[in-house]
Symmetry: C2
Subunit: 472 residues, 2 copies
C-alpha cells in the first residue's frame, strides 16, 4: 500500500468511527505533514483520494471538511427480542419465485445476491486458469481429489495465518462454493427433524438448506449493530435441544451486522458450554471497509466445535464455485460426506485460484474492491436519504454490499417487489429471510454494482413506489 | 472416420460377435477389395490396424487369421437368482478404508475407479479452458447459473440427437459430476427410510449415496451378459414398495454388463406399469467397443420417468467434475435441489468443455480411447489366462474398463486386497459392491491404464497371491 493510501485509510477510519464527525475539519496539510512526517504532496494525494471517495470535500480557502453523513436512521431490528418457537421451514417456493424473476440481465440488480462481476479481475484469473491447467499433473485428479488441491489449501491457510488464525492444512476441505460446505456441515451434525438455531433475518439459502434436510429452525434476532442476540441464544439453548447454530458473524446477510470480536468470543464460549457446534458462514470476510480484517469466531475456537466456511465467490471468482470449510473435529466426517456427494471440486478452477493467490495480486484487488463497495454504499445511502420516506431506517454496515431497510409498517415489501419488478428493478423482499415470513416491511438492497445514472434513477423510482404505499 | 478404419471396425465386429471365430481366416485382400469396392491398400491398412489391435495375425503366405480368444471362462453372476430382503446400507467404512489405501500414485491402480488420465486430451482441453474463459461473459455467472452453460447443454443435446435420442434442452441440468446428479435424483424421489432397488453387484458410490440419504436397498442380480434380472425385478416391484430403481444399463460397474436395447425397453416398460422412476447411471456410455453407441433406457422413456445421468469424467475430462442429468418429469424439482445444494457447476469448466465439444475433436479422441481400452482389456484377459487359476471366471465386457472376476469359492477377496496392497498393487474387493457384503470371492480389476511390463508383472503377482489362497 502506498504511503498516501495508508494516510487516507487512517483518516477514513476516524470518520467511520465518528472521531471526525460530519462537518468536522480534517487536519490541515501543513499540520498533517509535520505530525506524521510525510510530505505535503502525500497529504494532498490522500485528501484527493478521500474526496474522490466522497468522504471529505474542499472549501475554498478553508481546507477540507468531513461530508455530512447520510440522513437516514439506523435500522434496529429486532424491536422486541424474544425466544421463538421452533418452526418447520417451508420458504422455498417464495424464494424461488423471487430468484426466478430477477434473472433478467436487464433488470437493475438491487435484489441480486452477488456483487457485479465487473468488479472482479476475471481476465487476470483467466490467465491463471490457462497457465495452471497447462501445468497440471494429470494424476492429481485421483491423488488430490480429497480434501482438495494442496497449493490452494496452503494459500488459504496462509491467508488465515496472516489474519492471526493458525489453521492446520489438514482441517481444510475444498468444496463447490460455500453453499456446499454449509450443506455438508449441517448434514454432519443433524438428523431430519432436528432443531437448528438461525438468525432472524437469515440468509434465505440457509432456510432452503434447512428445508431440504428437513430440519426445524428457531430464530434468534440479529441486531444490525452487533449481530445475533446472545442473551436470547443462551435462553434458547437452555430451553430447546438445539443441534447446531448457523451464524454469519461478519457482515451478516441481509442485516450487514458485524459482531465485535468480544462478542464472537462470547458466542464461542456459550456454545462450548453447551457443546453445540457453530456453523460460521463467513463468505463476506474479505469485504471489510475498516483497516483490519475482523477475526472470525473460529479464531476463538479451542474445542474444534466451529465449522468455518469461506468462499472466493464474493471477493474474487464468482462462477468458479470454489469454497472451503475448516471443520474442526468434524473435518473427517465432512470430507467423507463430500466424497459421497460430489467427489471433489473442479480441479482447474482450484488450480487457477491457487495460482492467482500466489501471483495475481489478490490484496491489491481486494483493496480496490473494498473502496468501490464503500463508495457505492455511500451513493445508495445518499439516494435513500433523497428519495425514501423519512421514517425509513437503514443499516450502515462496515463491509459487504447489502443494505437492510425497515420501511414504515404499512408498507408490504412483497408488494414493493412486484411493482418494482414490473418497472425493471429487482429487490429482495423481507419475508424470504425468515421461515415465519417476518420482516414484511423490510427489503434488502444490493449496492454491489458500480453506481451510475440508471441506479440513481432506479432508487428514485423505488422511493416513489414506497411512498405511494404510505397513502400520502 | 477413414475408410480403412470403417472396414477394420466391421471386421472387428464380426470377430467380437463370433461370426469370425478364433483361428478363422479373414477375407483375403483381393476378395475384400472386390466385395467392398475398396482399394487393396485400404484393406491392407485395415488389417495392419487389426493386427496392431491384437485381433488378427498374419501367417506367411496364408493370409490373416483371427487370434485365438483368451482362455478364461465367462463370469455368470448370479448363480441362484432370488428376490432379496431389503437391507439397511452401511458399507461406507469398508469402502473408505479401501479407497484411502489406494490413493498412493505408486500403486498399480487395478483398484482405481478411473481410467488413466494419460488417455485424455488434457493439453487440448487446457487450450479450450484458456480461450473459453477469456471470452466468457462475466454476467453469465448470474444469468446461466441454473440449469447451466447454454452452449454446453446445446452440445450435449446434439450428441444425444446424433445417437437417436431427441432431448429438449430444457430437460438438461449441468451438475458437479454424475455423482451429484445421482444424489439429486435419489433425493428428488425418496424420503429417508424408503426402499430403492439396486444392482447386485452395485457400484459402491451408489451404496454410499443410499447410506447418506438413509435409504434401504433391495438387491437385484446382474447377469454379466445382459444386465439386471428383469424377472426378479418384476417380482420385487410386486412385493415391495420400491420408490426408485438405480441402474447402470451400459457397461455396468463392476460387472461390465450391457443390457441389450430390447431389455432396456422392457425395463422402462416394467417401471412405467408400476410408475416407479428409473435412475439411469450412464457414465460409460461413450466407451463402447462396437460400431454403434448403445441406446440408453432413456431412449424408450415415453413417460418422463427416466432420470438419465451422464458425465465427462470417464471419457474426456476427469477432474473437471462436469456431469449432467436429463430428468424428465423431475427436471424442475432437481434443478431446485441443485440450487439449494451447490448453486451451479464451475463455469470455466463448463465453458471449456462446451468449447472442446465444438472445436476439439471429441469423436476422434473417443475412437482412440475405445481402441486403447479394448487393447488393454485384451492384454489383461490374456494375463488372467496366463497367471490365474483355471477355475477363475471373468466378464468380457464390450465397453468400459473393468473386468469382474469370480475367483474360486475358497478365495477371500478382502484377503487378496490386503496382501496385494502390501505388494504395491490395488484391486477392488467384491464386498464393497454390496450392502450385504456378498461377492466375497470376486474382485474388480481396472484396465484403464496403458499396458506395460509393470502391469504384466503385477498380474503375475496377483495370480500368485490368488493361487496361494487355494492351498495348492
Amino acid at each position: 500500500m502506498k504511503r498516501y493510501e495508508k494516510y487516507a485509510d487512517d483518516i477514513a477510519e476516524l470518520i467511520r468511527s465518528g472521531v471526525l464527525g460530519p462537518g468536522a475539519r480534517v487536519p490541515s496539510v501543513r499540520y498533517a505533514s509535520q505530525a506524521h512526517g510525510i510530505s505535503p504532496s502525500t497529504v494532498f494525494q490522500a485528501y484527493y483520494l478521500l474526496e474522490r471517495r466522497g468522504l471529505i470535500r474542499a472549501r475554498p480557502r478553508s481546507g477540507y471538511f468531513v461530508n455530512p453523513s447520510v440522513l437516514v436512521q439506523p435500522a434496529q431490528t429486532p424491536r422486541e427480542p424474544q425466544v421463538s418457537e421452533s418452526t418447520e421451514v417451508d420458504v422455498s417456493e417464495l424464494v424461488f419465485s423471487v430468484l426466478d424473476s430477477i434473472k433478467d440481465p436487464n433488470t437493475v440488480p438491487f435484489g441480486s445476491a452477488f456483487p457485479s462481476p465487473l468488479l472482479f479481475p476475471l481476465q487476470r484469473l483467466s490467465r491463471s486458469l490457462a497457465s495452471a491447467s497447462r501445468d497440471m499433473d494429470p494424476r492429481m485428479v485421483v491423488t488430490d481429489m480429497s480434501p482438495g488441491h494442496p497449493q490452494l489449501r496452503r494459500q488459504i491457510a496462509l491467508r488465515y495465518m496472516t489474519s492471526g488464525l493458525m489453521l492446520p492444512m489438514e482441517e481444510l476441505l475444498i468444496t463447490n462454493g460455500a453453499l456446499e460446505a454449509l450443506n455438508l456441515c449441517l448434514q454432519a451434525v443433524t438428523e431430519p427433524g432436528d432443531l437448528v438455531a438461525i438468525e432472524a433475518p437469515a440468509f434465505y439459502a440457509c432456510l432452503q438448506v434447512l428445508e431440504r434436510l428437513k430440519l426445524k429452525a428457531v430464530e434468534i434476532p440479529v441486531h444490525t449493530h452487533d449481530g445475533i442476540d446472545l442473551g436470547i441464544l443462551a435462553q434458547t439453548l437452555e430451553r430447546y435441544p438445539v443441534k447446531a447454530v448457523w451464524c454469519m458473524t461478519s457482515f451478516q446477510n441481509p442485516s450487514g451486522a458485524l459482531m465485535p470480536e468480544a462478542r464472537k468470543r462470547e458466542l464461542v464460549e456459550l456454545l462450548r458450554e453447551h457443546q453445540v457446534p457453530l456453523i460460521e458462514d463467513d463468505v463476506y470476510a474479505e469485504l471489510y471497509y475498516g483497516p483490519h480484517a475482523p477475526k472470525p469466531a473460529k479464531a476463538f475456537d479451542t474445542d474444534g466445535l466451529v465449522m468455518h466456511c469461506g468462499s472466493f465467490a464474493k471477493s474474487l471468482a464468482p462462477g468458479y464455485r470454489i469454497g472451503w470449510v475448516a471443520a474442526g473435529r468434524y473435518a473427517q466426517k465432512i470430507e467423507r460426506l463430500k466424497l459421497m456427494t460430489s467427489l471433489c471440486a473442479s480441479m482447474p478452477a482450484q488450480a487457477a485460484i491457487a495460482d492467482y493467490l500466489e501471483h495475481g495480486g489478490y490484496d491489491r484487488h481486494l483493496r480496490k474492491l473494498r473502496y468501490a463497495l464503500e463508495d457505492q454504499q455511500r451513493a445508495m445511502l445518499a439516494a435513500i436519504g433523497r428519495y425514501f420516506p423519512a421514517q425509513t431506517r437503514v443499516s450502515q454496515p462496515v463491509g459487504g454490499y447489502f443494505l437492510w431497510l425497515e420501511l414504515p409498517d404499512s408498507v408490504d415489501s412483497l408488494q414493493v417487489f412486484k411493482v418494482a419488478l414490473a418497472q425493471g428493478i429487482s429487490i429482495a423482499p423481507g419475508p424470504i429471510f425468515s421461515p415465519t415470513q417476518r420482516f414484511a416491511n423490510c427489503i434488502r438492497l444490493n449496492y454491489g454494482s458500480p453506481w451510475n445514472d440508471a441506479a440513481e434513477k432506479a432508487m428514485e423510482t423505488l422511493g416513489r413506489i414506497v411512498r405511494s404505499m404510505l397513502g400520502n
